[in-house]
Symmetry: C2
Subunit: 144 residues, 2 copies
């Protein structure tokens, strides 16, 4: 399961995408509309800012806005930012690699092979899921 932090981050980003034309948008609006504890959301948006996904303006008329294009922000990146690796085993991660102590030969480990394929397919799907495509899906789904 992804953490609430990641879930909230995704919700906030989708909200910002849908209201891109009214940017910047203040934290309290996002918190209220998306049912996120405001203080918790502040920390999340700050992390997204540090990751150069969002930017902000202080003072009256300020708020948060997308720094990148919606099509350039995908769920794989967001999930990695808050929850770390997407892989289900440390030995099939890219950046957080850790060897299994009991593993005799990684290259021929059948378990690793399974989780390696799962990871690759999952990352593929999450990379495809950028903010623009998520909003687009909603339009498609509501027409069915």
């Amino acid at each position: 399961m992804i953490s609430k932090k990641t879930k909230y981050a995704i919700n906030a980003l989708v909200y910002l995408t849908k209201h891109k034309h009214r940017a910047p948008i203040i934290i309290s609006e996002i918190a209220e509309k998306e049912h996120i504890p405001q203080k918790f959301l502040e920390a999340i948006l700050l992390d997204l800012k540090k990751a150069a996904i969002l930017s902000s303006k202080k003072g009256k008329g300020g708020g948060y806005y997308l720094l990148k294009e919606p099509s350039e922000i995908n769920l794989a990146d967001v999930m990695r930012l808050f929850d770390g690796p997407i892989a289900l085993l440390p030995c099939v991660t890219y950046k957080y690699y850790e060897r299994c102590e009991e593993c005799k030969d990684e290259a021929t480990c059948g378990i690793r092979d399974v989780f390696y394929n799962v990871r690759n397919r999952t990352v593929e799907m999450l990379k495809d899921a950028d903010l623009a495509s998520i909003v687009k899906r909603e339009h498609l789904l509501s027409k069915e």
Copy 2:
């Protein structure tokens, strides 16, 4: 990431599969060979027994053995047993379903759509990964 409990369970099951001809096998042997804390492993094997995946014999010459055929034990079932749902969001699980409070319409939620597809593909791959196929993969990989 899967928990150590799940990882240990998988390792123990693969070990039992590879040494099926010598069944039953005592806990201490599995613990030692797979580098699992013995007491921890006892609880794990007990859970697998309750799930009717393993069975055991007490006393001298006793130990644990597979109750089902290796081809009938897959990683999806094992993971669900110890870590619960495989899905990354509560709203796309089968048995542990929970609605997102802020969600206006689940049927048209773009985020849900992504995670729904990820879940389905992941479960598919993990169901394919039964113990027999894992051991088979190892043989194939070592011949490359």
